[in-house]
C-alpha cells in the first residue's frame, strides 16, 4: 500500500474536477487529482460549451443577461423546487468563470441560444443567450466536441500549477476520522496497487451513474437497454455517489436529463436522424400524443414517450414525405445528425431492414405496417383516417400542429421507427449546500467533503432546463470552482 499526503484530493478529472483542481491549486493548495480514465475532460469532451451570465463575451456581444435575471428565470422554471442559494451561487459566479477560463487561454466563438426555432414553438425560441461555445483551437467553426479545447487548457493550467494527475487510478472509498470528518481517500492504481492519500479536503466529482444499469434500475426504475437507451459513458458507475453516502451524505432525488433515442443509435444514425421530422407520431394504440412540430425538443419528446404505454413511441412517414425531404431537405434540421441525412438514408435503411434491426419496419399498406410494428391495427387506421381528413382541411383539431406540417400519410411504402426514452447521465443524489459542502440528511456539514458536478446537480427539478443552454457544463464548472476555492481557503485561515 502506497501512502501519500496532500492538501486537496479531487476525485475524477472531468469538467467539474478540472475546475476544482485548478481553483484549489491557484489558491495555494497542493492537489492530487485521481482519474479512472486516461484522458481528462470526462463527458465534457462531447460538449460545446458552458452557460454563464454577465460574462465578458456576452458584454462584448451586447447581450445583457444578468445573473439575477437568469436566477429568477431558473427559479420560475423550477417553481422553487430547488435550492435557491445553490442556484444563486452558480449563476453569480458564472460570468467571472468565463473570464477565468479566458485567462487560461480558452477562447469562445460566440454566445448562443440553444437552437433557433419558430415563434410558435416557444420553448427554444425564447431561449437565453447563455451558451458560451468554445472556439476550437484550429480556428474552425465549432461542432460537437468543441469543448475539448477548454478541457485541454484547463488540464494544462492544472499541470502548470503543480496538480498531480493520477490516471487509471479510481478512488475506492473515503476515509473518516472518529468525528466523522473526511480525512483522506483510498484508491487503486492501474496495476491494482492500493493507495491511501490523507488530506484536509476531498472534492468528489465523478459524474453520476449513467453507466450503472443496476443503480439506474434501483433509483429510477428504468431497465437500461429495454425501456431506456441513455448515454453510458464508461466509468460513470456512481463511485462518488456511493462513496459519499457511505460516509453519511444526505440524499436528494436523482433525475436524468430525459430525451429520446434509438438503440445502438451510432450504428443507425441516418435512420435516427431521418425520422426526427414533424410527420405522424403515435403510441402503440395508434393515437398521436403531441403536436409533431415539437419533436426537435428532445426533452419534451423524451418525457412524453416516458408516459406512453410501454414507454415507446412510433414515428411514421410515407413515400411522399421522404421524397419531399430528399428534394427540399428536412423540415426540421438536427444539429446532431449527419448533414447528408437523406442521401445516406436509403443505403442504411435497406441494410438495417435486411439485418432485422428491431425498431424499424416498412410496408406497402398501413395495416401491414401496424402489424409489423406492433401497433394496434384498427387504432392506427382510424386515427390516421382522422388525421388525413384534418390534413385535407389544413387544420389540426387535436393539437394545432403547424399547418405546413399537416401532410397526410397516404402513399406507400410506409416507414416506421420505434422511439425510446433516452437520456444523458444522472443528476443529483448527494445533498450539498451552496458552498458545495456535503451535508447529512439533517443538513449537518460533513467536514472535509465536497461534492461537485452532476452528482451535486440538483438544480433542474424534473427536466433539463433547455431554455438556459449550457447549464450542465455551467454548473459543473462553477460548482467545481467554488468547492476548489473553499477547500483551499480552509488551509489558510488567518
Amino acid at each position: 500500500m502506497k501512502q501519500l499526503e496532500t492538501d486537496v484530493v479531487v476525485v475524477a478529472a472531468g469538467l467539474s474536477g478540472l475546475a476544482a483542481s485548478v481553483a484549489a491549486a491557484e489558491s495555494g493548495a497542493r492537489v492530487i487529482t485521481l482519474e479512472k480514465a486516461s484522458n481528462t475532460g470526462g463527458a465534457a469532451n462531447m460538449g460545446m460549451g458552458p452557460a454563464a451570465a454577465g460574462s465578458p463575451v456576452q458584454k462584448a456581444s451586447m447581450i445583457e443577461v444578468t445573473p439575477g435575471e437568469l436566477f429568477r428565470r431558473h427559479m420560475f422554471y423550477t417553481h422553487y423546487q430547488v435550492d435557491a442559494r445553490l442556484v444563486r451561487a452558480y449563476y453569480f459566479k458564472s460570468g467571472d468563470t468565463i473570464a477565468w477560463l479566458q485567462d487560461m487561454g480558452v477562447e469562445f466563438n460566440s454566445v448562443r441560444p440553444a437552437f433557433r426555432a419558430r415563434e410558435r414553438t416557444r420553448a427554444y425560441a425564447d431561449g437565453e443567450y447563455t451558451w458560451h461555445v468554445v472556439q476550437p483551437e484550429d480556428g474552425s467553426e465549432p461542432g460537437p466536441r468543441a469543448a475539448t479545447t477548454m478541457t485541454k487548457r484547463m488540464t494544462e493550467r492544472a499541470q502548470e500549477l503543480g496538480v498531480e494527475f493520477m490516471f487509471e487510478t479510481p478512488a475506492t472509498e473515503l476515509i473518516c476520522n472518529d468525528e466523522g470528518a473526511v480525512t483522506g481517500v483510498r484508491a487503486k492504481d492501474k496495476d491494482g496497487e492500493d493507495i491511501e492519500i490523507s488530506c484536509s479536503s476531498v472534492i468528489v466529482a465523478t459524474g453520476g451513474f449513467g453507466a450503472n444499469a443496476e443503480m439506474i434500475k434501483k433509483y429510477m426504475g428504468f431497465e437500461w437497454g429495454k425501456d431506456l437507451f441513455s448515454f453510458a459513458i464508461p466509468g460513470m458507475d456512481g463511485d462518488g455517489f456511493n462513496m459519499c453516502h457511505a460516509v453519511g451524505a444526505g440524499h436528494t432525488p436523482v433525475t436524468m436529463e430525459i430525451m429520446y433515442q434509438l438503440p445502438d443509435n451510432m450504428n443507425h444514425f441516418y435512420v435516427e436522424g431521418a425520422f426526427r421530422q414533424p410527420c405522424y407520431w403515435c403510441d402503440r394504440n395508434g393515437e398521436r400524443f403531441m403536436p409533431e412540430d415539437e419533436i426537435f425538443n428532445t426533452t419534451f419528446v423524451g418525457n412524453a414517450i416516458n408516459h406512453l404505454p410501454g414507454r415507446v413511441g412510433y414515428a411514421i412517414f410515407d413515400a411522399k414525405m421522404l421524397k419531399h425531404w430528399k428534394k427540399d431537405g428536412p423540415d426540421i434540421v438536427s444539429h446532431v445528425h449527419p448533414h447528408d441525412l437523406y442521401e445516406g438514408f436509403d443505403e442504411q435503411w435497406e441494410r438495417d431492414l435486411a439485418d432485422g434491426y428491431e425498431p424499424i419496419c416498412q410496408a406497402d399498406t398501413l395495416e401491414e405496417l401496424a402489424e409489423k410494428a406492433g401497433i394496434d391495427v384498427d387504432g392506427l387506421i382510424s386515427n390516421v383516417e382522422e388525421y388525413n381528413a384534418m390534413c385535407a382541411e389544413g387544420y389540426d383539431e387535436l393539437f394545432e400542429k403547424e399547418r405546413e406540417f399537416m401532410q397526410p400519410l397516404e402513399k406507400g411504402p410506409f416507414y416506421c421507427c420505434k422511439q425510446f426514452v433516452g437520456a444523458y447521465g444522472t443528476l443529483g443524489g448527494v445533498l450539498v449546500n451552496h458552498n458545495l459542502e456535503v451535508m447529512t440528511d439533517e443538513h449537518k456539514v460533513i467536514p472535509g467533503l465536497y461534492c461537485v458536478g452532476t452528482d451535486a446537480c440538483t438544480i433542474y427539478g424534473d427536466s433539463y432546463n433547455y431554455c438556459i443552454p449550457g447549464n450542465t457544463m455551467g454548473f459543473c464548472l462553477n460548482s467545481g470552482r467554488i468547492a476548489g476555492e473553499n477547500a483551499a481557503a480552509k488551509l489558510f485561515e488567518y
Binding site: 469532451n45 476550437p136 474552425s140 466536441r145 475539448t148 496495476d191 491494482g192 441516418y270
Partner: protein, 711 residues
C-alpha cells in the same frame, strides 16, 4: 547523436526516428498509427515535422534522426498537414462518443483534445459498419475504425499470425479477414493484441467480459487472478508446451509447495476463468500441473530461499496444507518450526478426507519429504520437526509468554468434525458422518458400507463418500441434495465420474426423515426425501425450501452418510475468539485475538479447498515472519523468467479442438479399486494440451502509448 527539436537540444540513439527522439526527450508530437511495439508506417500523417527549414513536411516516425538535424514540429506547413489529416479522420468517425466503451481511454479522443481540431471544413460522412459480435472474446465495431492499421501490424508483425488486413469493400477500405470469414476460420490465436493496440473503440473485449472489480491485469489474465494462490499459469503452461517440466514445476512452486497433490485434486477455479471457455473447452490446467510434477527432477531446489537461522521458534498446530505451507516458508525464513499433528500422519484432509483414488498416500508422502528436504537445505539438522499423534488442546500455552517454548503459534486444525443434521432418525445405527467414513477408509479400517447406501449432501465431499462406498462394495449408492444440479457445489467432473461408477443422483430433494428398518430395531432401513421446486437462502441466510406436493420418495438404505458440511473440532477450548460458531476469528493478516497466535486454513475460512488453504498458509507465514522481525517476504524465484517471445506464429493443427483427455480406467473397473484411475498426461498429450493456451499474458507485454497529458 544530438539534434534540435522545437529549439530544444535532444540526444538520440543511433537509428532512432525523429518521433522516438522527441518522445523520449519529453517533447510530444501527435501520432496515432505509430505504437511503441510496432514498426512505423507513416500512415496517419499526424507526426508531421519540418526538417532543416525545408518547406515540405515529413513524417517524424519515418525519418531517421541525424546528427545536427533541426526539427520543427510546430512549423506552419507541418501543422497544416497534421490538422487536415486529423480533420479527415474525424470526418468519418462517429461524432457522438457516448456509447463507446473506450470513452476516456481513447487515444483519438486524447489526440483531438490536444489538437483542438474540428472536422467542420469537410462533408462529414460516418461510415456505419454493422457491429460484429459473432466472434468469441473479440468484438469488432468498425464504425469507429480510423484505419491506422495498428491491429494489422500487431497481428502480422508482432504475433506472426496475420489474420487481419485491409479489405476493400463497397463501403470503402476497412479492416477484416480475407474472404470475410470468422476469426476462427481465418486462424486467429485470440491473443487479443489487436484489442490492446487499437487506439479507438473499434476492436474491443466482448462487452461484459471485463469485471469492474478486477484490475486490468487480472481481467486480461483471469486464470492467474482466479487461482487463490495466483500461480503464474500462462508462464508454466508455456514451459509444459516446451517440455521443460522442471521449469514448469518451478513456476508452480514459486507459489505453492504441493504441485503434484494439486495436480491430482485441485478444485481449479482457474479453469472456469480461462478465456478458452469462450471458444471450446478451457485448458486442462490442473492436469497439466500434474503432468509437469510427475516429471520433476528437482533442479529448482538449488534456488530455494534459505535464510540464516533466526533463533525464533514457531509451533504449527495441524499438519494440513495450510499448516505445512506456513511451516515451509517460515523455515525458509530461518525460523525453527515444530508441527503438531493429532493424526498419525501429516496431510490433513489431503490424507484423511480426500479418497486414495484421487490422491494416493505416496504423493502426499513424497511432497512432505520434499518440504522437509528443501527446508533443511544444507543445514545439519531439519528446520521442521514433525510431531504426529499429538493433539494440542491449548495452543496459547505453547507461547513463551504463556510458559511454552515458542515465539509464535499457528493454528491450522482444519475442519475434521462432520455435521449431523437434527432430523428424525439421525442417530440410528448405520448412520455415519462424512469425516468418520472417509477417514476410516483411508486408515484401512473402513466402516461397513454393504447394501444400499444413501449419501445426503451435494458437494465434492458427498461424492467422495459415495464413490468410496462404491469401492467398499455397496449394492447401490444414491446421492441426495437440496440443490438442483446446476447449483451443486461438486464439480461436474465428479458427478459425471460418479455416475459412470453407478452413483445415482437425486438433486433438488429435501431430507424428510431417516427411517428405522423395523420399528424398535434402532437400525436405519430407508430415507424419505421430497422433491423441491425451489431452494434459496433468505435475507437472514436461512435456508428456505419450497416442497413439491406428492413429491415424496423413500429410498432403501442400509447405511446413510451425512455429507452436509464439516467444522473445526477443538477450537472451542482454545481460548481464541471465535466467529460463526467454531471458526477462529482473525484479521486480514490472520492474527487471532491472542497476540502471538495466528490461524489459517479451513478452521478460519470454513471448508474450502487445498489451494485456498495453501494461500492462507502463505499469508500466515509472511505475517508471522514480520512479527518475528523478518521482512515478511516469502517470494521465490525458482527458475529464470526470460522475456516472452511476442511471436506466436500461425495456428498449429488442433488449436481449436477440445481438451486432450488422459487415459482413464472405465467406470466399472475403477469402481472396484482405490488405486488412482486417471493416468497423468503423457509427454505428448501434455505438450499438445498446453499448446492450446491462448497466452493471454502476452498482451500485458505490449506497451501503452503515453498520451499528451503525461508529457
Amino acid at each position: 547523436m544530438n539534434l534540435t527539436i522545437n529549439g530544444q537540444q535532444v540526444e538520440a540513439a543511433e537509428g532512432a526516428s525523429v518521433l522516438d527522439a522527441a518522445l523520449d526527450a519529453g517533447i510530444f508530437i501527435p501520432h496515432l498509427c505509430k505504437h511503441p511495439d510496432l514498426e512505423a508506417v507513416g500512415g496517419c500523417r499526424l507526426c508531421m515535422v519540418c526538417v532543416d527549414g525545408a518547406s515540405e513536411p515529413v513524417c517524424a516516425c519515418k525519418t531517421a534522426a541525424r546528427e545536427g538535424m533541426v526539427v520543427d514540429s510546430e512549423a506552419p506547413a507541418a501543422d497544416r498537414v497534421r490538422r487536415m489529416a486529423m480533420e479527415l479522420i474525424l470526418a468519418t468517425h462517429p461524432t457522438d462518443c457516448t456509447g463507446c466503451v473506450k470513452y476516456g481511454k481513447c487515444e483519438l479522443q486524447s489526440m483531438y483534445q490536444y489538437m483542438g481540431v474540428s472536422p467542420m471544413r469537410w462533408r462529414v460522412k460516418s461510415r456505419p459498419v454493422a457491429t460484429d459480435d459473432s466472434n468469441p472474446l473479440i468484438t469488432h465495431m468498425f464504425t469507429r475504425c480510423i484505419r491506422c492499421g495498428r491491429c494489422v501490424r500487431a497481428c502480422r508483425d508482432v504475433r506472426g499470425v496475420g489474420v487481419l488486413d485491409y479489405q476493400h469493400t463497397e463501403n470503402g477500405i476497412r479492416i477484416g479477414t480475407d474472404g470475410h470469414v470468422t476469426l476462427e476460420q481465418a486462424g486467429c490465436r485470440f491473443c487479443e493484441a489487436c484489442i490492446e493496440v487499437c487506439p479507438t473503440g473499434s476492436i474491443i473485449d466482448v462487452l461484459g467480459s471485463l469485471r469492474d472489480d478486477r484490475s486490468r491485469e487480472d481481467n486480461i489474465v483471469p486464470c492467474r487472478s482466479g487461482c487463490p494462490a495466483h500461480i503464474d499459469i500462462p508462464e508454466y503452461l508455456r514451459h509444459v508446451k516446451d517440455g521443460a517440466w522442471d521449469d514448469a514445476v518451478a513456476v508452480v512452486r514459486e507459489r505453492v509447495p504441493f504441485p503434484e497433490s494439486l495436480g491430482c485434486i485441485c478444485t481449479h477455479s482457474c479453469e472456469s476463468e480461462c478465456k478458452r471457455n469462450g471458444l471450446t473447452a478451457p485448458l486442462s490446467i490442473c492436469r497439466l500441473k500434474r503432468a509437469a510434477a510427475v516429471r520433476d527432477t528437482g533442479s529448482w531446489k538449488a534456488r530455494v530461499r534459505h535464510e540464516a537461522l533466526t533463533g525464533k521458534r514457531v509451533a504449527v498446530v495441524g499438519a494440513g496444507p495450510a499448516g505445512l505451507t506456513a511451516a515451509l516458508y517460515l523455515a525458509e525464513k530461518g525460523h525453527m518450526v515444530t508441527v503438531y499433528e493429532a493424526n498419525e500422519k501429516v496431510g490433513g484432509q489431503m490424507r484423511y478426507g480426500i479418497p486414495a483414488y484421487r490422491l494416493p498416500d505416496e504423493v502426499v508422502d513424497r511432497e512432505m519429504a520434499t518440504i522437509s528436504e528443501i527446508s533443511q537445505g544444507c543445514d545439519e539438522s531439519p528446520r521442521i520437526e514433525l510431531r504426529c499423534g499429538e493433539r494440542i488442546g491449548d495452543p496459547v500455552a505453547l507461547l513463551a509468554a504463556h510458559g511454552g517454548a515458542f515465539d509464535a503459534v499457528l493454528v491450522s486444525v482444519g475442519t475434521h468434525a462432520g455435521t449431523r443434521l437434527p432430523m428424525s432418525g439421525a442417530d440410528l445405527a448405520g448412520v455415519y458422518l462424512n469425516t468418520d467414513f472417509l477417514k476410516a477408509a483411508r486408515q484401512g479400517s473402513p466402516l461397513d458400507a454393504s447394501g444400499h447406501v444413501v449419501v445426503l449432501g451435494g458437494g465434492n465431499v458427498a461424492y467422495d463418500c459415495a464413490r468410496t462406498a462404491v469401492r467398499l462394495g455397496a449394492a447401490s449408492v444414491d446421492v441426495c441434495c437440496l440443490e438442483a444440479e446446476d447449483k451443486m457445489t461438486s464439480t461436474p467432473e465428479e458427478r459425471a465420474e460418479g455416475a459412470e461408477e453407478g452413483v445415482v443422483l437425486h438433486d433438488a430433494y429435501a431430507f424428510n426423515s431417516i427411517n428405522e428398518s423395523e420399528p424398535g430395531s434402532g437400525r436405519v432401513g430407508s430415507v424419505t426425501v421430497q422433491k423441491i421446486s425451489r431452494f434459496y437462502f433468505d435475507e437472514d441466510h436461512r435456508a428456505v425450501t419450497e416442497l413439491v406436493e406428492g413429491g415424496e420418495v423413500t429410498l432403501p438404505a442400509d447405511h446413510v452418510i451425512f455429507a452436509v458440511g464439516q467444522k473445526p473440532e477443538d477450537t472451542a477450548g482454545m481460548g481464541l475468539e471465535l466467529t460463526h460458531g467454531p471458526y477462529v476469528s482473525t484479521d486480514a493478516a490472520l492474527r487471532t485475538s491472542v497476540e502471538g497466535v495466528w490461524a489459517a486454513g479451513d478452521c478460519v475460512t470454513g471448508t474450502k479447498s487445498v489451494i485456498a488453504a495453501i494461500e492462507q498458509g502463505r499469508i500466515a507465514a509472511s505475517s508471522i515472519d514480520e512479527f518475528l522481525g523478518g521482512d515478511g517476504d516469502i517470494s521465490e524465484v525458482l527458475t529464470d523468467h526470460p522475456e516472452h517471445s511476442p511471436l506466436l506464429g500461425k495456428v498449429p493443427e488442433g488449436y481449436y479442438d477440445g481438451r486432450v483427455e488422459p487415459a482413464s480406467a472405465e467406470g466399472v473397473v475403477r469402481a472396484k479399486t482405490f488405486a488412482p484411475f486417471e493416468a497423468p498426461y503423457t509427454c505428448d498429450e501434455a505438450r499438445c494440451e498446453a499448446s492450446r493456451c491462448l497466452q493471454c499474458d502476452l498482451r500485458l507485454d505490449l506497451h501503452a502509448p503515453r498520451l499528451w497529458n503525461e508529457y
